[in-house]
């Protein structure tokens, strides 16, 4: 019998007993934010097909179309529903592509964090000793020196060293790498705490007696039982990484200008705001807030819903 499948069932049964779905149905705020997040994700995934223009295509840009207002404004142009930015790019298309960028960075950076943090935390808790001391010492230091500050320093210095042109061909990958590597300690600490609580339980001892390898015990036996808190951290981190990416792009050291991102759009729109053209910065800002708020609301709710103290409680 495949042990990992057995554990998978076990975990799933526990989530079902948690009445996650029932709680979701009765909690209006979370239901609405889930729908909003789902919609934004679908829009972002379909961006290349549904957006009226391709913001990365210079041929579709015309400086004559620059600074057009959104549709509710008298002087708007029917081709550009949400108006255009200072270079004549369609704002709606840029926002859709920007959402795509944000979610893409958020997903991959969190995937990197999750992997690094979980592996380090598992080994730290399972093996103990000097591995544990070293990993936790690094985690303490990294946790105090925030990942955003680290990302600002690393990315800014890389940009200065490579020059803006070269830097921007690599920056999307560098961004994911830095944000992914910089924020592992939360996962590691949580996993380690769970491992310490689990590793002397009978099922782990049984697996050890049966002669399973450490790697197998850690990944297939212990990890499924530490998933709930990890899920909460990961969902909060998605929002944080998206925020960090926006801040970095706003500072001009994140996504390249040709590749629309919400933070970059806000940054370039800010210059036009001083002459009263508010939509170039604030409409992408609105999309960013909508995205972050829905993720934060869901994460907040997940934390309460997956809390063992609340298991079996009606919402």
């Amino acid at each position: 019998m495949n042990t990992s499948r057995y554990h998978g069932h076990y975990v799933w049964r526990r989530y079902r007993r948690n009445q996650l779905w029932l709680q979701l149905k009765t909690n209006k705020v979370v239901l609405v934010s889930s729908i909003v997040l789902l919609l934004l994700t679908i829009l972002a995934l379909l961006a290349p097909w549904i957006s009226p223009f391709d913001p990365t295509n210079l041929q579709q840009q015309n400086i004559m179309d620059a600074e057009l207002p959104p549709f509710w404004h008298g002087q708007s142009d029917s081709r550009f529903v949400l108006g255009t930015d200072g270079l004549g790019r369609d704002l709606l298309s840029s926002i859709l592509y920007g959402l795509r960028t944000s979610l893409w960075v958020g997903f991959w950076a969190v995937a990197v964090q999750f992997t690094i943090g979980t592996l380090l935390g598992l080994s730290s808790g399972y093996f103990g000793g000097w591995i544990d001391r070293m990993v936790m010492g690094m985690a303490d230091f990294q946790l105090t020196f925030s990942s955003l500050m680290l990302a600002i320093l690393v990315l800014a210095i890389t940009q200065a060293a490579l020059g803006a042109q070269d830097y921007h061909t690599w920056s999307p990958w560098l961004l994911i790498l830095v944000l992914g590597i910089a924020d592992w300690p939360q996962y590691a600490r949580t996993v380690r705490a769970s491992v310490l609580a689990e590793k002397h339980k009978d099922y782990v001892l049984a697996a050890q007696v049966l002669g399973y390898r450490s790697r197998h015990i850690m990944l297939s036996h212990i990890l499924p039982n530490t998933l709930s808190p990890l899920l909460v951290i990961a969902s909060l981190q998605v929002a944080y990484v998206i925020l960090a990416e926006a801040a970095l792009s706003f500072l001009g050291i994140g996504m390249p200008y040709a590749n629309p991102s919400l933070g970059g759009l806000i940054g370039s729109g800010f210059e036009y705001m001083l002459s009263g053209l508010w939509w170039i910065a604030l409409l992408p800002g609105l999309a960013l807030v909508l995205l972050l708020l829905s993720i934060n609301l869901i994460a907040d709710w997940l934390r309460d819903a997956l809390d063992p103290k609340n298991i079996g409680q009606r919402p």
């Binding site: 500050m149 800014a156 200065a160 706003f250 807030v289 972050l292 708020l293 907040d300």
Partner: protein, 315 residues
């Protein structure tokens, strides 16, 4: 007492090691950004000069780096100071209010607002404020620091009307970004304390509510707040950098971003070292404050049996 001395020595040793690592990294950074500067100077010479307090000369300002950075430090310090005072003034009453009547409509509104606050990045709040108060209403200046008055080596913007007009928007934007984090933590801590047995006992004894809030609630919430504040040090630095760059505030953050754009490697390297030193200093101060308020750690309280098993202090 001996324990404390060993702890202190240990801490100083780690700090020195961290600073040494940062110095080596900054030599490497210097070589990356301005290779000609490291041609005639090897790592040993560089470290030797650092020990003598010589941080090199800025290629752009043609002045010693230390001098350039120290000149910009007051602006950053005053911005962080005003923002921190605002956060404290808002977080304390709101934290108490939302912890004492958590089910009240207004308290729920405050918490919902704090979730919104986490989802709105500092540069978006700032942009919105610039648009409203500087462009549309024309009440406040959009950027700069205004008139500064020289007090010895310290350029203060807090002594002139124009200085205050300039600091309002950046400080409010920065504090709105930091407020939700502190508010949520303070509320969680206070609610935990308010539900503990000593507080129930005090309530049964008929002690006035405000005395319970202050001498049980606040006193026991101080430790987690200090921990939180020290954990948020890096994030505060990052947010300050973003706010400075948005409002063109002439502080160290703006200086760093300009040095990056100008490829001023010498200044970037000096910035790295000085910022790390400041960071270590502040986290040491936070630890010191933690020891001061923690009955388990302070030697002069331990013998008096003040610290009870529950970790709560009697008033």
């Amino acid at each position: 007492m001996m324990n404390h001395v060993i702890k202190l020595l240990q801490r100083m040793l780690t700090s020195c090691l961290v600073l040494l690592t940062v110095a080596v990294v900054s030599y490497w950074v210097l070589g990356l950004i301005s290779p000609q500067q490291t041609l005639h100077m090897d790592l040993g010479q560089y470290l030797g000069r650092l020990l003598e307090g010589d941080f090199g000369r800025s290629q752009f300002y043609h002045e010693p780096n230390l001098h350039v950075i120290l000149q910009k430090l007051p602006a950053t310090f005053e911005l962080v100071l005003v923002a921190s005072i605002l956060v404290a003034l808002l977080a304390l009453p709101l934290g108490f209010y939302t912890a004492i009547v958590p089910q009240h409509k207004l308290a729920r509104g405050v918490m919902a607002f704090s979730l919104l606050g986490i989802s709105v990045p500092v540069f978006l709040t700032g942009s919105l404020m610039v648009f409203l108060f500087a462009v549309e209403l024309n009440w406040l200046p959009a950027f700069g620091r205004g008139q500064v008055i020289r007090l010895g080596f310290w350029d203060s913007g807090l002594l002139s009307v124009s200085g205050w007009q300039h600091i309002i928007m950046p400080a409010v934007a920065l504090s709105l970004a930091m407020l939700p984090l502190f508010l949520r933590l303070l509320r969680a801590e206070l609610m935990q304390v308010m539900n503990s047995n000593p507080v129930r006992f005090a309530q049964a004894m008929g002690i006035a509510p405000w005395r319970i809030w202050l001498s049980y609630g606040l006193r026991n919430a101080i430790l987690p707040i200090i921990t939180m504040a020290s954990l948020q040090l890096g994030t505060t630095m990052a947010y300050t950098l973003v706010a400075e760059s948005l409002f063109q505030w002439p502080g160290v953050g703006t200086l760093f971003m300009q040095a990056i754009v100008r490829s001023d490697g010498s200044l970037v390297a000096a910035y790295l070292i000085l910022v790390s030193a400041m960071f270590l200093l502040f986290s040491a101060l936070a630890d010191l404050a933690y020891g001061l308020f923690n009955p388990y750690l302070s030697p002069w309280l331990r013998d008096q049996g003040v610290a009870s098993k529950s970790g709560l202090k009697a008033p």
